[in-house]
Amino acid sequence: MDWLYILMPIAGVKIFWPGLIILGVGVGVIGGFFGMGGAWMVTPGLNILGFPMAFAIGTDIAHMAGKSLISTMRHGKFGNVDYKLGFIMLVGTVVGFEVGAQMIMWLERIGIVGPVVRWMYLALLALIAWMVFADVAKRRRKEREALAAGKEVDKLATGLEWHKTLHRIKIPPMVTFKQAGITCSAWLPILVSFFTGWLAGILGIGGGLIRMPALIYLVGCPTHVAVGTDLFEVMISGLYGAASYTYKGRTELVAAIIMLVGAAVGAQVGSVATKYIKGYGIRIAFGLAVIGCFISVLLKLIPTYYPPLYTICDVSATILILGLVAAMSTYITVKMVQGAAREVAMKKGKTA
């Protein structure tokens, strides 16, 4: 069974290559569907396959750039990417990320980086999960009230409407984003992207997990446009991150390419699935992914206070993450296949 293992030229470790493809497919599906890089899932996965942690992060970022490019191309064809919004947000993201990274250095010097990052991450994930489910509950209430009044709720109606309040701030220059269908002060996406970039820099993550909900709830993008535009951002920041990690000598391109074989298929499946699943369906699934991430971070935090629980918590976190990747990617793939089958059958019906 030696042929199932490949010697990585830089890291010098032998890796089970089918594992890389399977991991690539799973996170490709999830990334293309939710508009995130999925570093919190890939890095532990690569680590389990045998990569040292520094190489796991660098390789993950390198494959993330390629995977996001594939997803962005697909979402772009569906009209889900607002490039103008993406470019404006890029400025805030890059500056915010660097400030966040510098702040981490400062926290490291005063010796509180670990607890601050972990607790901040947990608080943020809890906030995002609350936002998603509060939004879903509010939207459902609106639907019930409309139904009781014998009306139908507006297709564009949302539960949480914070973006409407933020759109009332009219500090020039005002900008219209056609694809997202919004007009607001240019400072809104810049400040939001600076904030999300800063958080991503502090937490050491790509930022898709934070930017996607921020695009929906703060900027006011429709779900599909938020997913597509976020992927565009992930693609650019992924390339920047890949260059940075590669220059530091921590990227294993061979592994990234093998993962891309799987991720190319997965990213297509995830992106096409957004065609068949409604915006609120995506939001609910995203909320569940955030809860999974929250639990996995919590499991990694517990042993710092109760060291005897290290092994059990570590194993549980790994099982949870890999189980979540498997369950979510299977669900999305099934929905995509069902939707595609319906579409093909309808086309055949029309031509017959």
């Binding site: 750039a65 400062w106 579409e343």
Partner: protein, 96 residues
């Protein structure tokens, strides 16, 4: 006016914290990793040697290869999905 005042205060606080963070940055000695190319042959050995000789060329090639492979895989998947009969040019749903 009240709102504008709050925004300006928030911006000022953020700006100050940003400058403080930038001023406080620092770093340690980087760890140098050398790829062991003795067990490798062909393109893998060449790749490992390139890593050892120049991180700049290694980075440049990586940054070129990743998007190129992404585009190739993306176009291949386009062809397959078109062949299956999936419409890749439009999305009917327009709700939030």
């Amino acid at each position: 006016m009240q709102l504008m005042k709050r925004i300006w205060i928030a911006c000022a606080v953020f700006n100050l914290s940003t400058q403080a963070a930038l001023a406080a940055g620092g770093g340690g000695e980087p760890i140098v990793i050398v790829a062991d190319s003795r067990k490798l042959t062909g393109i893998m050995a060449w790749w490992a040697n390139l890593y050892n000789e120049s991180h700049v060329y290694f980075t440049l090639l990586t940054i070129i290869i990743i998007p190129v492979i992404g585009v190739i895989f993306g176009l291949l998947a386009d062809l397959v999905m078109h062949f299956v009969g999936i419409d890749l040019s439009s999305r009917d749903l327009a709700e939030h």
